[in-house]
Every structure is written in structure tokens, then in C-alpha cells.
Subunit: 204 residues, 2 copies
Amino acid sequence: MVKKDKDASTQERILLAAKKVFVGKGMAGARMQDIADEAGINKALLHYYFKNKEQLFEKIFQEAATLLFPKLNIIFDSDLPLFEKIEKFAEEYITVMMLNPFLPLFVLNEITRDPNNFVKKIWTGDKPHPQKLMQQIDKEVKKGTIKKISAVQLLMNLTAMIIFPFVARPMYQLTIGINEKEFRAIMEERKTLVPKFIIDSIRK
Amino acid sequence: MVKKDKDASTQERILLAAKKVFVGKGMAGARMQDIADEAGINKALLHYYFKNKEQLFEKIFQEAATLLFPKLNIIFDSDLPLFEKIEKFAEEYITVMMLNPFLPLFVLNEITRDPNNFVKKIWTGDKPHPQKLMQQIDKEVKKGTIKKISAVQLLMNLTAMIIFPFVARPMYQLTIGINEKEFRAIMEERKTLVPKFIIDSIRK
DNA sequence: TTTTGTTTTAACCAAATGGTTAAACTACAT
DNA sequence: ATGTAGTTTAACCATTTGGTTAAAACAAAA
């Protein structure tokens, strides 16, 4: 059997290229030729590795979703006290997304386009389940440790403040005129700022 | 001269249909045939009213952007005290978006796909300018009226908590299992909850 | 009734696009 | 040297899609 490993295994280069093109243009806007070009190969070879666009897309999308979602549950289900859980969530999640700043919009898009397909093909059993965290919030409210707030609302506030900046980055860059470097710095600061902001708001 | 006004002026029906299809599938994913079908007409008539896809898309997109953005500046530039400004912003903005819940994702997408084209063709002079609000924040911080926080960060928190739920609705529906009606109720509550949440956090 | 703008039908065109095929070439492993 | 997997070239195919065209039907104003 013969195995060439030219550069970074053509297959790897294709996946890299496909990720870039799909994330940038979406499934509908992406062209197989774009992917081939980006990978520095030709269409024939692209199809030699991947039967068709759909299969390739699903591979990319699954990769993206598995990168974004599964770490959530580890934090959601951990036994940390509420405030620490919030801190850890922000810290870890922003770290992950700073490595893949375009993934959130990409994934949100595809979920929106076809939620059922998403559930079937991507969340095969292990979707995020914030229920434990939500119960924890309810419990703290009942104990009177924190101000009264519904768990859903608090969860929305938390996730919104963490994820949205990545989704709206170009808008922020256009309106308040921040560059790439400044954006990174801001997001770095948010790792601790967001938890503090939340805790300051709900602490009694 | 002859003017028929069958139903709701075919042109209006086309724009309605185009909005639905474009917002749902994006520029690349939308098909002229889809739009014709949705409008209950045929392709020939569609092109009788609109030269081509691009022109139609731009009309829709401009409409969407003008709906989402321009009211911002009125609030941004008003002379209200900070807390009231925050309250008004949340109230009015959530109201607008509840009437067009899919617009935010649509607009964010197109800004991301091609920021320059967006600036050229959509923001011809009157883009959102939160600068005055940001100065106001800085001033309050200096006066010591509110806790120390950078204006950008506070602005991000505010916009994120207001806009993100609309962008991520399908995700929330899948993970915490809320239906359409519940979502509306939650967003209704957020009109006052978000300002309260913020003010509780930054008030000294 | 004639005119004029609207709408349908239906065929058609050209370009883009996903995908295929076959032949030839390359480089490595045996 | 030979076989095999990887790769290129280049032509090709079928389908989709944006867009056009021409003729006829329609509806209302003049």
C-alpha cells in the first residue's frame, strides 16, 4: 500500500479550505471550485476525496458544532457554586470562540435554516442541557442568595453577552470603529468583566 | 393610463415574498422561482417588476436595514439621562424586533459577508453613531455616579442582551424547549428586565 | 370599442455549477 | 520493474438557475 503525506495530508488541506469557504459563504454560497482553489488542488481531486458537497459540508458543520457545544455540558453539570460556574463558563467559552471567531454565526445560521436537520444529524444524543444550571439558579433565588430572576432570563443574559460580540463583530467594527487587535483585547477583558457584571447585578 | 390594484398591488406582494425568501435563505440560497411562487405569480411577471435578483435583494436589504438602524440614533443622541436612555433603548428596540424577529440575523449575515458593500450601499451617511451615548457613559463614570466600566463594554452588554435572543432563538428553542408564545412572553419581559439588570449592575 | 398596462403560458437561452470520466503522470513501496 | 495511491489535465454531462422573449389573454379606462 502506498501513502503519500505531501505537506499536510491533502485531506487535511481540503477540510481546512472547506471550513474557510463554508464558514465564510454558507452552504448555499460556497462553490466546490472555491474550495478546490483554496486547497490548492483541482475539482477532480476534491471529488476523489469527498463524494459531494453535502457530505463535505456535513463534516465541516459537525466539526464546528462539536467544537462549540460539547464543552458546555461539562460546565453546566459540574458541582461548582453558581458564581464560579458563571466565571468558568465565560472564561472557557470566550477562549474557545476566540480561536474560531466565525463559528458562532455559521452555526446559528444553519440551526436557523433547518432546525430539524440539525437535531437529527448533529445533536445525536448529546445536545446542551442547561437544566441543571437553571435549577441551581432557581435554588439560589429561593434561598434568597441572589435577587429574583427567572433562570431562562439569566441564562439568556449570560450567553448573549458572551456569544453576541462574535456574531456582531463587523457591526461593532463599523459603528464604533475598533480593529482586530482592539477586538481581541476587549474580548479578553470580557472573560472576567461579564461574570463580574452579572454577579454585581444579581448579588443581594 | 391604466392602473390595476388587484389585491395588494402585485408589487407589494412581490416585496413581501422576496423579504420572506431572502431573509429565510439569504441572498445566495434564495431562488427567483421561490419568490415568484411565494408571491403567487410566475417568473416572467417577477422580472416584469424587477430587473434582476440583485436589484430586488438590495431593495429588501435596504428596507431591512433602515428598519433596524435609524431609530437608534434618535435614542443615542437624545438628552435623556443615562438610565432612562437605557430603558428607552431596550423598550423601543425590542418592540421593533418583535415585529421582525428574523431581521437581525439576516442583516448581521450580510454585514459579515461584505462589510464594504454594506457601507457603500446601505449606510449612505446615516449609520448608527453611539458616540454620544458612550461619552455620556464615560462622564457618569468620572462623576462617580456609576461603577467603573468602559463605554464599549457597557454598550456591548446592552446590545447583546437585546439583540442576541432574536439571533439565537432557534437554539434556545431546541435547548431549553420554549415555544413561540413563551418566547414572545420572555422578550416582552426583557423590555424592562434588561435595563433593570444593567442598572442593578452598574449603580453604585 | 379601442387602448393600455397587467398577467399568463410556455418555450427558450446562456451561464454557472455539481459531478464524472478517462488518460496520463508522479512518486513511492515492494 | 512494477503496481498502487495520489494527482493533474481536460473534456464532458446533466441540472439548476437567472433571465428573455413572443404571443395571447385579461381587465379596466378612455
